[in-house]
């Protein structure tokens, strides 16, 4: 079973958006990040992986509508005491938002999300009803 990923690439727009944007600056400014995602699939489901070091489960929100997935979140700034000297700050992502489309409709009731060690994994079952059915052709009279 294969969807028409090659002919009508649903990620083309998404890729353009992602790579078309300039890389976040290294300054101390809080960056609204364009979250980097990886998408995998097996026969029955999609797996989305994204890295969210320093965020906690309560900071993250996931929304699934048909084949659209939105992930957003804001992490609290770590409280800094007065006598802390900051020598270097590269970890400057405090808020992010990302919406993207999967190649097929997924069943919103069967979405599992797991967050461990700063890695978010979302498993979305492909919708049985939306799966293309292979039509068996019989020979001879109907």
């Amino acid at each position: 079973m294969h969807h028409a990923l090659a002919t009508q690439d649903p990620f083309a727009q998404l890729r353009r958006n992602f790579f078309g944007r300039s890389a976040p600056s290294q300054s101390n400014q809080k960056t609204k990040a364009n979250l980097a995602i990886n998408i995998y699939e097996d026969e029955n489901a999609y797996l989305i992986r994204t890295r969210l070091a320093g965020f906690s489960v309560e900071d993250i929100e996931i929304e699934v509508v048909k084949n659209q997935v939105s992930i957003r979140g804001t992490r609290k700034e770590e409280t800094s005491e007065e006598d802390i000297k900051l020598h270097r700050q590269e970890r400057n992502v405090f808020t992010f938002e990302r919406t993207f489309a999967l190649p097929e409709t997924v069943d919103p009731d069967k979405v599992r999300a797991n967050f461990k060690n700063g890695l978010l994994e979302i498993i979305l079952d492909k919708d049985e009803k939306a799966k293309a059915k292979r039509i068996k052709i019989t020979e001879g009279a109907v």
């Binding site: 890389a23 290294q26 998408i39 965020f55 900051l86 060690n117």
Partner: protein, 125 residues
């Protein structure tokens, strides 16, 4: 999110695959020098922190994804982490502690207390 650049010392890696230089914050309190590194997706047993000749080396070994998952869209490479830090003389390299939480590794290095200025007495001969 800042895309991780490939580690410059890639060839020094022990494990097969790509190495990344994790983003870090470096802070100093009166008691500690603190390195916070974004190293998500690594189990606590797969880190190695090593201090040799005033250089702290941090490595994290990526865990492989189950083979049944076929990548259909990839924006970040799944790699190991590697970064080196030069330590000054003002820290106690023998008492380094580290914790790992939500993908952030925090390395605490105690500051050495300023040695008391020693007054040298001069004897009149």
């Amino acid at each position: 999110m800042k895309e991780q650049e490939k580690g410059k010392e890639e060839t020094e890696g022990l494990w097969e695959g790509t190495y990344f230089r994790p983003a870090v914050d470096i802070l100093e309190t009166p008691e500690h020098l603190i390195i916070k590194a974004d190293v998500p997706g690594i189990g606590v047993d797969h880190f190695d922190i090593d201090v040799k000749e005033n250089v702290l080396t941090l490595t994290g070994q990526r865990q492989k994804l189950d083979e049944r998952w076929k990548a259909i869209h990839q924006e970040f490479e799944d790699g190991h982490y590697f970064r080196k830090f030069r330590l000054g003389k003002q820290v106690d390299q023998s008492k380094i502690e580290a914790t790992y939480k939500e993908g952030v590794l925090e390395i605490q290095i105690p500051m050495l207390k300023d040695p008391e200025p020693r007054k040298i007495e001069i004897r009149q001969l």
